[in-house]
Amino acid sequence: MTRLAVPKTYKLYIGGAFPRSESGRTYEVLRADGAFLANAAKASRKDARDAIVAARGAVASWSGATAYNRGQVLYRIAELLEGRRAQFVAEIEEAEGVSRAAASAQVDESIDRWVWYAGWADKFAQVAGNANPVAGPYFNISVPEPTGVVAIVAPQDSSLLGFVSAVAPALVAGNAVVVVASERFPLSAISLAEVLATSDVPKGVVNVLTGSPAEIAPWLASHADVNAIDLVGAGALDWISLEIDAADTLKRVLRPESGPDAAAPALGRISAFTETKTVWHTKSLR
């Protein structure tokens, strides 16, 4: 006698909670073979708005945490993910229709990426910052600081690795993010949100929207309280319009990437969402 399975309800992740879309909408997520897999919440512009409010509210504490602490929190995600490897492998197998080996490789790489970025938290400022030898009696130092709220259109052709590759670097410096997950493969993103919710990541630091990037991204790109937008997964959208919208408030923009190297690990992905602040102070013995 087989046991009747208990299917999971996939919701949004906003401000540390898992609400349904305020619109009440869902959409069907299908297996690679076209069979029904699950219903995912179909986020609306109001969900996006709420997510941005949650993210803004989280910036001060996350960016104000010590870099050492942020590094540990990010590393903790890797630990938790490792503990739930099997769940993620199975989810990816089911959703993407790939072999167990391929799904395992994706999870492994995702975990390793968290580890890699976690290690950068208390180092990138040393690499991207400068003590500047100005011609005068001044202490002068340049440091990278988080830009604030980063909206991300996650890579669309990957369940977990693309999502992690885009989100992790934005978190390193202390930004809070609103991520639109892969439309086709949203489930791993929500499962990861469950990991985040039980990790030490403060609520609001990561907010996950599922649904139609084409519908949501314009609201993110034009929102005045978003400081930067990563269009890495927006290649199939009218991303030029998104870039134009983003220009209204001079948002920092990363343009779409495609292929297996999309959102590959790079220090540049961290510094893309930082602002260089230069502080001068007078120096004198007198």
Partner: protein, 526 residues
Amino acid sequence: MSFLDYAPAPESRAILSLRDQYGLFIDGEFVDGRGTPFQTISPATEERIAEISSANQADVDDAVAAARRAYDRTWSRMSGRDRGKYLFRIARLVQERARELAVAESLDNGKPIKESRDVDVPLVAAWFFYYAGWADKLDHAGLGANPGSLGVAAQVIPWNFPLLMLAWKIAPALAAGNTVVLKPAETTPLSALIFAEILQQADLPAGVVNIITGAGDTGAALVAHDGVDKVAFTGSTAVGRAIAKQVAGTDKKVTLELGGKAANIVFDDAPIDQAIEGIVNGIFFNQGHVCCAGSRLLVQENVHDEVVERLKLRLSTLRLGDPLDKNTDIGAINSKEQLERIRELSDIGVAEGAERWSAPCVIPENGFWYAPTIFTNVQTSSRIAREEIFGPVLSVLTFRTPAEAIAKANNTPYGLSAGIWSDKGSRILAVADELRAGVIWANTFNRFDPASPFGGYKESGYGREGGRHGLAAYLSPTPIGQAATRQSLAAPATAKPIETADAAPKRTRRTAQRSRTDSATKGSKR
């Protein structure tokens, strides 16, 4: 006559030998522009200085083509060491002709000679010296080994620091191996054209730097040109926004240095006399025509009256008048249009209930002038506390606690600069941490140095000028066609470098959807 009525001490104009007419500097030669020429005038007297060519679309095409040829055939193939030597040469020539450049700048811009002589021109030389040394050390620019140049840089600069902004743009561009088409502001082309003569004296290969003059449409045509790989703009946020829209979807890299509404925060334990000087320097330096000007004075409420009283005393000693007089502190407003904008916003301040006080100055009969002005009783909601006036007008607001000071300072879409005055180190550093601005001056203000990155948060633009960061804005981590050799970043096997905030990796050019941005980039003024 009192001793304080210092006898006139005019800097001699004899050092300047101006032509009556200036062409465009394209491919190493001065050529006539095909647009309608215009006159450049002295804003202090409204007298004509010279006739300036205007570049039309065909001229822009020629300039970009010249820059492209120079890039392909000469500059991108030249060793960094030799590029550096050219920049060192330019730095030396600027020093040798410093006084001439300063006089031209003050004549054309209206700024006091003591500023052009002691600040602008020395910094111009320093900028070329600094970046000259970078030219053969690009591996250390922070982008990994062997970074590549971008190609042709289109650079559009404002009228407030005509020659200094030219240096900020050209020096890093050339050090990194790019070639340049630069458009100075319509009202201040003179020093850039003298600089073109310096380039000839330096024997810089033809086409490496091209200088085209004209109005906003010339700048718009340059920025929009398909042959351009990099756009660097300093000017108003409105134009910067239009440029950002125009380049959307292209593979142009962009840096924007835009407007500001800097808070200058004075705590009650500030070194008071130096704070007063810093406030004066913060807003009245260069007639307040400074994007990073400390235009919002945030004073701790318990010292407000004392600060304002001391400020008024100090302002009463400022000397407004002939920019070429060595004792002039406040020169002319750069243009009639700018003067009208300052007047309009000041009148709005009065209408909104702020109290206006202007230093007692004798305003010359001709030319464009505005007396140093303070508004007290200004609220955060006042337009004069929110909009960039870009003139010698200071708005005074109060705060009670550090947290309130930070909140008020950050309550603006801009984020270019800020000042902090206090004797308490821990508070200075903590406040500096919290301020959302790219440059923080603590117990000083309006200091600039080629080694020090400058640029804004939020709507003050993106990218940095100055320092290693300013160099990186003209480099690409992956030279086209050499990607295979460049796996050196310490990252997992899949790691690849990508560029910083303002940029994305090179990609196939897409046709930008420009229908929404046709009206972009009108005017280069701040």
